[in-house]
Amino acid sequence: MSSTLTDLSMLELGAKLAAREVSSVEATRASLARIAQVDPKVRAFLRVDEAGALKAAEASDARRQAGSPLSALDGVPVGLKDIFLTEGLETTCGSRLLEGFVPPYDATVVRLLKEAGLPLLGKLNMDEFAMGSSNESSAYFPTHNPWDLTRTPGGSSGGSAAAVAAREVFGALGTDTGGSIRQPAGFTNTVGLKPTYGRVSRYGVIAYASSLDQPGPMARTVGDTAALFQLIARHDPLDSTSADVETPDCLTGLEDGVRGLRLGVPREYFSDGMDPEVAGTLRASLEELEKLGATLVDISLPHTKYALATYYLLASSEASSNLARYDGIRYGQRAKDARGLKELYTQTRGQGFGAEVKLRIMLGTYALSAGYYDAYYLRAQKVRTLIREDFTRAFGQVDAIVSPTSPVPAFKLGDKVGDPLSMYLMDVYTLPCNLAGLPGLSVPCGFTQGGLPVGMQLLGRPFDEARLLRIARAFEREHDFFRRAVPV
């Protein structure tokens, strides 16, 4: 029974809970059983909160009994990337430095999920401080791709993607700074939405690069993604960059199709570096969208080639400042034998941070230093404006932009460790969207010969998530890729 129950989508489970065909406790127990069964192989979880999840499930069942559910997803258990602060539940952000840190408050999105009645199964693995594209820079262990355990699920929200794909959770939240939701979604046959910057509150989300970070939903179907998104897309007075806009209705009109839509195909995104199987799958998908009634438009985003350098300069600069608070003084790990203040800082940070984090802190510190600021940070900000303008121009012509999510399918664990630059190239299609603050979505669009998932990326105008979901749903309806059984 557990295997069939955990195969349900969030909305399907929600319907069964509403019809009282199944209880939240049963669904939560099914998830816990599935976690016990497959997580020793997948290793998506840093921490399973069995007691907390069951308690929340019981409370949900009581509400259903009383006929007063809090939302359509009341009782549907989900997982959280370990970047979200959870009151009373250890939160490490994949780092040794925060080991043992028990937050005194919930992130706004965590509060919203609790208020909607969703039991939280636990905290999911991630690249340390969200820096990485493969989950291998987690300080604890790498997560494995459920479609091929020798491969990475992508990063930095790889734990969330793997748990969703492996049916350990019905849905999850991740964060996306340069593609950290979409790239792992593409690697794992799941749907990931990076909302418009400012759409979802960052309060209580451990910061990597403040001007780029954005939390978002990860799920198996487009409908689930839309439903989860609607729960967390709220204006938050605790986040000064939170947009004061209405919560979108993404479910009404989700089935409206793509007829009459103009979809841009940026020539810069179909470059030489792309894996031939990914390229073939994408071309076939574009033809399908055309058949479904969309018009494909050849467009150009001329500053794309500068996006990678711009992204790493800005993200590293902000990270070098955001991570300064981990000094061993107030929380987390402190170096044991440090003598004097300077030693306390250097040893705490030296022992607590992993290699990738140190690399980016140094890069950012350098880029912001007196004498280099104009040449690096300031110039990167100017290029960022140009990239934004590229998109604005493009959206004068088209309703959405279509591209691959990643140039290659999931790569082997260990393959790119030690070669940061080739790792950074994994984000080449996803990060321009973060620089421009736009919404982006990855939807499954096929499999390689070897059975590895391929993702299609959709980019939209600011606050136009509903349209991206509608396009993704039109494509999903033709395939039902999410029904395909995961081998693990």
Binding site: Y105, L238, S321, Y331
Partner: protein
């Protein structure tokens, strides 16, 4: 060249805590003197995941100060991060304003021995305060403690141009600035508690030169006296360095209160690279026309304007006007009382004399005064009419001060009213002159010094309540003068 051949050049950077109830980026209290770390929350503790939310009252106060100092208020300014490691800096950076502050280019007029002088205010910017490290004996050996109650308290930094030319001008500027901020109600002007503090940039150059010398920054100047002493010491030190063929090094120096010297704190070589960049967690700070206009309309009359008006409107000497306008509550109370008296100078004498003595001795703030302006006016009128003597009036004021009772009641109860009835006084005068016929003879023979004796006897007989004018008048008449 001797010291007198050099010109001192001074610019001041003043940090003023804004009088808001809550901190600049969170809702924690700014009250002084709480238990360590009691006024803290995840935001001001710099916990992971927290974000700043701007306290709008801070913006209002800064705009108010900017307008009062004649600055242009920028419609858009920008928050920046100033990055450095220190245990009392919870986030590892301070949120401040850097190259685009909220106010720019104003001025403050001060008095100098050679007349009025206009000092340019280059900029006013906003920032958060850091916490406090406590190297306390009660902690275990070698340990330091951190108190973050102050972390996130809103500060306004007011930076002058190097327009000041000696320590007295610097003190005058600092006092004038404090008066303005206190008048506006944006700062309490308390140097001891550090809510109004000052750093000075000091350099020297040969007289007649137009090129400024290398400057040093002086810190820890928490009184007007220390500011004056530190500048004078530092200017002399720099002249000594130059005179002995050396070069003044750019550095930060601390004023050593005990030794009365400045000493090096850090040099340019180990100066921080603060790696400023725009704060991504806060949108640019926008000041609407409506906010600026409403602040402009609600600006009070400022100390200097008030002083000028007191001189012209009440005919007061400059000295009196300055003291009466130094603090807004005192000036307001003076004006309230002036509405009830005919002679403002006499009122001023009471303010500068008896009232200020009472306020000081009893430690009562003006806001807690028990008597009303009308009552004080009544007392002064009573003195004017000769109903009570000036001396007795002091007693009456003391009683009014303590109880708030009406002067007429106090005079009646204590029997302080003067006797101005001609018949009654005449009877006493006649009686005294009759009893002292010998002295009267001496007086008439030319020993005029006896006159005081007669006055004394009359007053004694009347228990001090005889109207002095009337007593004199009758005595002289009876003695045939």
């Amino acid at each position: 060249m001797p010291l007198s051949d050099f010109q001192t050049v001074i610019g001041l950077e003043v940090h003023a805590q804004l009088l808001t109830q809550s901190k600049i980026f969170c809702g924690c209290s700014t009250a002084f003197g709480a238990e360590p770390n009691h006024h803290t929350c995840p935001v001001c503790l710099g916990m992971p995941g927290v974000l700043p939310v701007l306290n709008q009252r801070v913006v209002e106060y800064a705009v108010r100060a900017g307008l009062a100092l004649g600055c242009s208020v920028k419609p858009t300014s920008v928050w920046s991060r100033k990055n450095y490691f220190y245990p009392d800096l919870p986030k590892g950076y301070q949120i401040t304003q850097y190259d685009q502050p909220i106010c720019e280019w104003g001025e403050l007029v001060i008095d100098t021995p050679s007349g009025e002088k206009t000092v340019r205010v280059r900029r006013i910017h906003l920032e958060e305060d850091a916490g406090k490290s406590v190297h306390d004996a009660s902690a275990s050996a070698g340990q330091s403690l951190v108190d973050l109650n102050r972390a996130g308290v809103p500060l306004m930094e007011i930076v002058s141009e190097p327009d000041l030319r000696d320590a007295d001008e610097a003190v005058e500027y600092l006092k004038a600035l404090r008066d303005v901020l206190v008048y506006l109600g944006v700062n309490d002007g308390n140097l001891e508690e550090g809510s109004f503090r000052c750093d000075a940039n000091v350099s020297v150059m040969p007289k007649g030169s137009t090129t400024y010398g290398q400057r040093c920054e002086l810190k820890n100047l928490n009184s007007f006296r220390f500011l004056k002493q530190a500048i004078e010491y530092e200017a002399a030190r720099q002249v000594d360095v130059l005179e002995s063929g050396g070069k003044v090094q750019q550095e930060t120096r601390l004023w050593d209160v005990n030794k009365g010297v400045t000493r090096s704190m850090r040099s340019k070589e180990d100066a921080h690279d603060y790696r400023y960049f725009p704060e991504p967690d806060l949108p640019p700070l926008r000041v609407s026309d409506a906010l600026r206009d409403s602040q402009r309309q609600s600006l009070p009359e400022l100390p200097r304007a008030k002083r000028t008006r007191f001189i012209s409107e009440y005919g007061l000497p400059a000295y009196d006007a300055r003291i009466l306008t130094a603090e807004r509550p005192l000036a307001d109370f003076f004006e309230a009382c002036a509405a009830h008296v005919s002679d403002a100078k006499k009122l001023s004498n009471w303010f500068l004399g008896e009232l200020s003595r009472l306020l000081k001795e009893e430690g009562t703030p003006l806001s807690a005064l028990r008597f009303t302006p009308a009552q004080l006016g009544e007392l002064l009128a009573t003195v004017e009419k000769g109903t009570v003597s000036a001396n007795a009036a002091k007693d009456v004021l003391g009683e009014m001060f303590r109880t708030g009772r009406a002067p007429a009641d106090i005079i009646a109860e204590k029997g302080l009213a003067q006797v101005s009835d001609v018949g009654a006084v005449e009877a006493v005068v006649d009686d005294i002159l009759a009893k002292n016929a010998g002295e009267v003879e001496k007086y008439k023979a030319g020993k005029k010094s006896v006159y005081g004796f007669f006055v004394g006897q009359v007053m004694k007989a009347m228990k001090g309540k005889g109207n002095p004018g009337l007593v004199n008048e009758l005595l002289k008449k009876k003695l045939g003068d």
